[in-house]
Amino acid sequence: MTTTVTQTSCDQALKKLIDTVGATGGAVYLGDRERSVLKLAAAVGQRVANDASWPTEMSWGKDAAKRLIEVERDRAPLTVPLLLGEEEVGAVIVSGGRHVARGTETEELSNECRALARALAPEPLPALEDELRRRIPAGACEWLKAVIAAAARGDRDAVMTAFPAMGRRVGREPLGSQSALVRRDGDVEIYLRAWRLDDAGRVALLCAFAGDAEALARELYFSGDLRERCGALRGLAVVGRTASALDPVRDAIRSSAAELFEAALAENPYASRFLPDDEFRHAVLKAAFVGISIARVPGVESRADAELSRMLLSYVTEREVAGRSVPPDVWPVAAMHPTAGLVAKLCGYLEHPATNHRIGAAQALGRIGDRHARPFMSDRLAREDDRTVRRILERALA
């Protein structure tokens, strides 16, 4: 995160976080990749420990900011990493708060920190430029800079010609970023983990375009080859503002080209936001069907309903009857609106030899909170070896 942070948004988010924890002061530090240091970005109050001011810079070692739950006993500071996507971009240090309990409070705190990281995130275009600059040769960078400038002048033809050339110019390898883009108007993270270099370049062009970028993305999709189409779909996640560019999403979801389907739905909040309920449900079901984790569909839990739950359970039954495996990530989603028979099935999957199934089933049962399931959960807990499953079961039974 190298761009200048708007001080007010940072201060506001920090204050909110301090209130959540009940602390007296706190500071936000942002990482400087090149120099491996954390730099002070914002501070509220003082360090209670010695009443001294916050250091403006501190070393950013491998584990410096990773001590998430260093619960204070004697009003010692609490350090929480700032995560954008899955990338650590800095740290928050909170002085002398209340005791932070395990469980929900920790979850709330980490949610607040995620919100803070989103508030501090750069705009999508500079973020993408930064990601690409660190990974592509100088010549490709120069070319990209020139076409981004043309896009920013509203030069539609330049974008239309640069779009197909992107793979040759900047490469087609995975981008390899654990980070996420944040739209100022959406407060949603758009994960970059499945993106390729050419996706990032194409989306940067759409972000830069001075004009109707949504309509342009639609047009580029229908005139594009497979890779261009993926870029246009990922672009809609960043520049899509209305349902008017749903055609490409629908086209991609109808397709059986896994790469295209993935670009339309996985980590793509555009599809999740604008697809009507029935189409959204079918898209989620098809994701499960083609082997894309439905957990990668943004908002799948908030949009889940009884009908989706029924469809997923029916799909599971169909797979079981055919003697085929079932994707474990359907359980927590199906549990949002449990249908008849789900709890019993989940109790069965608590005994599944695959850890992922036990994790999914335990999460789902915790979510449903059916008292009839408690004996089965306690019984499993007594024999469970896996730490994650144990933790989820303990929390669910607490």
């Binding site: 033809d157 239309m160 010609t161 640069a162 779009f163 197909p164 050339a165 793979g167 040759r168 005139s223 080859d225 497979l226 890779r227 109808r254 397709s255 059986s256 080209a257 896994a258 295209l260």
Partner: protein
């Protein structure tokens, strides 16, 4: 011996052809954009065709371990059709930037009309703008005159001859082209154009510099195995292996490498068919793993 087929309209061929070509040693094929036999009636038909040869046909070829490239253009015959010729020209820039497009072609003459001249010149300009070589078709009728006009237009627009492949040459046209610096293509056909014995004679007479051979296989009576068949005859007639390899590999590869888009390491790596579907379609039949 590995071979590069620099001119075959694979869209009109069956999968048996791919299989036979691969078995015979052809590892890469270039598909020039051309007409469809049946005249098109609208620009949309070109869009679908271009999409097919940059996507679907490449996918089909890969199922048989073959690399597939193409050239894109408004073909000479349909340059005469005012229902869409201007629209197609406007379509070209975005297709010329697509992956796997190694040149502008086939362009050139069919009936040698003023329209054909205009679209030939315009497309040479496009080749220059997109830094691509050009594949030039020469007419079946009045071929010598067609070659002369082609060379004249190249000079008029100052297009570098080393970036032009003039195709479908015969004994009559070789003397016109041999000293220009253009690469020369020969289409070996069952009945017309050129056959294997004549081809070997031409190579013996004129040498192998900048000479390439192809099958120009399409929907008519043609034979996608004409390159390996000609190779057989070259061997029988005592041509050295390195000369043969020059004609069927090094010459076509180095010509299309001028596009800057032919990844030579990729050419040396065997294609492994992914078994994936292409936009929902598969040409694989029967049970799949």
């Amino acid at each position: 011996m590995r071979m590069f087929e620099p001119h075959a309209h694979m869209l009109s061929r069956v999968t048996d052809d791919y299989e036979q070509m691969a078995l015979a040693g052809i590892v890469a094929v270039l598909e020039p954009a051309f007409w469809l036999g049946q005249p098109r009636t609208s620009v949309g038909s070109f869009v679908d065709y271009f999409d097919a040869i940059i996507g679907w046909e490449r996918f089909r070829a890969e199922q048989f371990g073959m690399r597939h490239y193409c050239t894109i253009s408004l073909n000479p015959k349909e340059a005469n059709d005012d229902r869409f010729n201007e629209d197609v020209l406007r379509l070209l820039p975005r297709y010329l930037e697509k992956d796997g497009v190694l040149g502008v072609g086939e362009i050139g003459f069919d009936d040698i009309t003023p329209r054909e001249e205009r679209f030939l010149a315009a497309q040479l300009e496009l080749a220059r703008a997109h830094d691509l070589p050009a594949l030039v078709h020469t007419p079946h009728r009045d071929k010598v005159r067609g070659v002369e006009r082609t060379l004249a237009i190249m000079r008029e627009v100052n297009f570098p001859p080393e970036r032009v492949l003039i195709d479908h040459n015969t004994e009559q046209t070789v003397p016109l082209v041999i000293d220009t610096g253009c690469t020369m293509g020969f289409s070996i056909y069952p009945d017309t154009k050129m056959d294997e014995p004549r081809m070997v004679e031409i190579l013996k007479t004129w040498g192998t510099d900048r000479m390439v051979i192809n099958s120009a296989a399409d929907w008519g009576k043609s034979d996608p195995l004409k390159i390996p068949k000609t190779v057989n005859l070259m061997r029988q007639k005592g041509m050295p292996e390195h000369e043969i390899e020059k004609v069927v590999w090094h010459n076509p590869v180095s010509f299309y490498a001028k596009s800057g888009r032919l990844d030579l390491r990729e050419l040396d790596t065997p294609v492994t068919p992914s078994g994936q579907l292409f936009q929902g379609n598969s040409i694989l039949r029967g049970p799949r793993a």
